[in-house]
Symmetry: D2
Subunit: 272 residues, 4 copies
């Protein structure tokens, strides 16, 4: 996209091609990032029988550096990774059970056995992969062996409290979603509620983001906050934080699974 | 617009026409109301020299029942009507003074003299039109005489506490903006804070809306709320309410003056 | 409480009695409703071995019309009543399972069988009491027969879509908690999301309240809202509404089960 | 305060003393910081004629390390310091003009002349003290000369964009209030909106805090946030940020001027 005029051209090109193919447009959202000089469009149609052909036709008419992603099968497949805290996982399992997640949970992997029981109640396979008494590469190899047994779209870190290596993360580019227990970029790293308590903040938050090799620095999908006050202990903040973590991760997953999140460099375009 | 396919056609038609005329597209937003079967589009361009020609060309290519509104002169002209409360008016005057209102205040009309002084401080003409000892038609005739002396886009009721007649309102279709001191449709009518207090609600709100002949029933532009609790008296609620009224009216004016609000029947489409 | 001075006296009386009994004060909250002329206090202590004696001593020193409620056993017992929507019940069951509800779910009663399965997953007894082909008194007699088999503190209506008779409600004064799918008092009655859609509101909410004989008019415990816009269909509003309903009911239950909610006439005092 | 039991004793001591003096208690709020082992109480009375005597009596009955602060004259006196941005100052001047600030603005000091005009409109003295071509100690000496000409309670930095030296700050312990244009502790330092834009956050905020010698590290009084999204440029974020800065500073001033903010070490206790 060389200049502003080209945008009208791109819109015309895309919508014209769809009209010509008699494809019904349900919704269309565009965004132009004038700094990065990129054009983003999300198009929802309701009668696109032959997605492969349409994809080819779009590549034919669009500029050479365009990326087209068609989504013929709306339900994503995911693996959830956890440690000991139940709140995010339980919310995901409920949504999975009642078909409101927009994805299908293939299995859960925990580095503690704590959450095995809740998975069993929903007949979701649970794998215990302890990190204890092994180095990270061994631990991650064991994780990968399980993950590779499934064909998944996303790995969801639902309070998985181990740091993954660059080698591991690179295998799943923009396919690992994490919930961070703070309003990033505040309180990066360990014990954010303790940090928040010590600092005396009046709001605490949570951030859902894609995982990249920079700790807590991946593209942010969504964030929310709740007010706290002097009467909150660090433990109270953590308890309130769990509510907001659950809500933020649920919202982020809904957006991602509904193909509403586009990533460019370190930022997201979210067509809500 | 007969069916979904036509939407792609409309997008193509509009964007294609703009591309052909070498008009640079800055942003484009669409909305399809499938219930009302209407298509809404807001297009921002940066080099449209001859708006009259473009308007004609758009009417040429669009369906017969389309409405096209071009905005060659971005700064709106407004008159503000008030009674005794200062908070909304003062906020508008400050924004007017510092050129952040997106409109130009031509004058202020009050049915009390209370706010004359603040207008004088900003060299804005203030007209006192008392409603006392006269019937509504006389009162409104006096208002109209002043208003007719100006060429305005919008009348802003910034805590104007008199009910206007259908005859008056009809003269300014979708051009009167009111701030209502409740989260409509709760607490329609008089003394909403008293009503909210009696009901024991835990949130209070404010609503900015276009004025139609149904009391407090016109199309809603924006709404906000703030939490309250048992410690709030009705007076405390009113005090907090003034803060939210100021913020909501400011937000609504910004949206309207920036041509982001479309009205269809009794609802708004707001391209934020 | 005749006048303001008496308040200082009441605080002295209560705190002095506790100090004399060597009872450790963890927190103390008071509220004076000067309109209703009532004084409310919530006192948390950490070493009150003999609650019966303390209760008697408090009645001895307090005015004749005082109400003292000591809570020696913090975990409440509840029955949850449902129809077909799962979101509130599932959230309660998760919290019950992980001991974060502050109450113990004794059983669930549904007038449809839809939610039997989720109860079984958590080994919570589920009773199906259909309302079909029977008059309300028979239906309620069947409900009461089940309820009377348990010793409970609260009945929680977690999207129970039948209206209960005054005769039923009177048996559980201020012990029935309901989640209403609107920001009361807006949209009382049926189909609030449809009403909200038709009105074109920009915020939707949910309200948790105690059930009294006035439909949707009982004392409000807590309320929350979320923003919506023109792109929301009535169905989208309902979907978003379920998220806020779940959150609001969870918050209200937490407050009630933690003995933070006092009711006087038609309002609550909530010591958060 | 050695242990929990002492709290009941302190409440008894204070309320008993007030009752004995026939002082009417309007409201009483306490907070116990069990980590810092401090007890905080805010007491509002409505007939305390002789504050000096009461203060002495309180010191007589309270532990030796207690701090008592009586507020016989509710209206604070303040000086506002600014640079070029008008939004916070204009809001303060409006509230000052309509007597809703809870304080009286004695004068405004700016290091640019930009805001002289708005001060003159409200007949508030404006002093221009340029920082240009002088070292910080000279600049601050000039500021102090003006400040020392007034008897003030607080210095309000309403977008004053110069860093003050420890020597200056030490002269006004817990008496300088600043509005910081970010949700601290995120984006400490310069250009927070640029930083927020680069990081791709989904919320931006503002923080009002007391100024101490650690840059942006003083006790936080209040914070608020607003949502942003991918369509916001850094300039849009700054524009939205100004709205939230204005609201946050107004809220903080209201709390401080109403004697609702207590500071201990680096945190505040705020009795809202």
């Amino acid at each position: 996209m060389k200049n502003n005029k080209d945008r009208a051209g791109l819109v015309t090109t895309i919508s014209g091609m769809l009209a010509k193919e008699n494809i019904n447009l349900v919704s269309m959202r565009e965004h132009v990032d004038t700094v990065a000089d990129r054009f983003f469009a999300r198009i929802e149609v309701d009668n696109c029988a032959d997605t492969r052909t349409i994809e080819e036709k779009l590549y034919d008419v669009l500029p050479a550096d365009a990326t087209v992603k068609l989504n013929p099968s709306p339900e994503k497949k995911i693996i959830v990774m956890v440690t000991r805290e139940h709140h995010c996982l339980a919310d995901i399992l409920i949504r999975n059970q009642f078909k409101t997640l927009g994805a299908s949970v293939q299995c859960v992997i925990g580095n503690h056995a704590t959450l095995q029981n809740i998975c069993e109640r929903f007949e979701i396979p649970f794998y215990l992969v302890s990190h204890k008494e092994k180095d990270r590469s061994t631990f991650e190899a064991e994780l990968l062996e399980i993950i590779n047994g499934y064909d998944i779209d996303f790995l969801v870190l639902a309070k998985f409290m181990r740091i993954l290596s660059p080698g591991f993360i690179t295998k799943f580019p923009l396919r690992i979603i994490n919930i961070h227990h703070s309003f990033l970029p505040a309180f990066i790293g360990a014990n954010p509620y303790r940090q928040a308590y010590e600092r005396g903040v009046k709001l605490i938050g949570a951030t859902a983001h894609f995982v990249t090799n920079e700790l807590d620095e991946g593209p942010i999908i969504t964030q929310q906050i709740i007010p706290v006050n002097h009467s909150f202990t660090a433990e109270d903040m953590m308890k309130s934080g769990k509510e907001i973590e659950t809500a933020v991760l649920a919202k982020a997953l809904q957006l991602v699974f509904d193909d509403r999140v586009f990533v460019h460099q370190n930022k997201t375009v979210v067509f809500e």
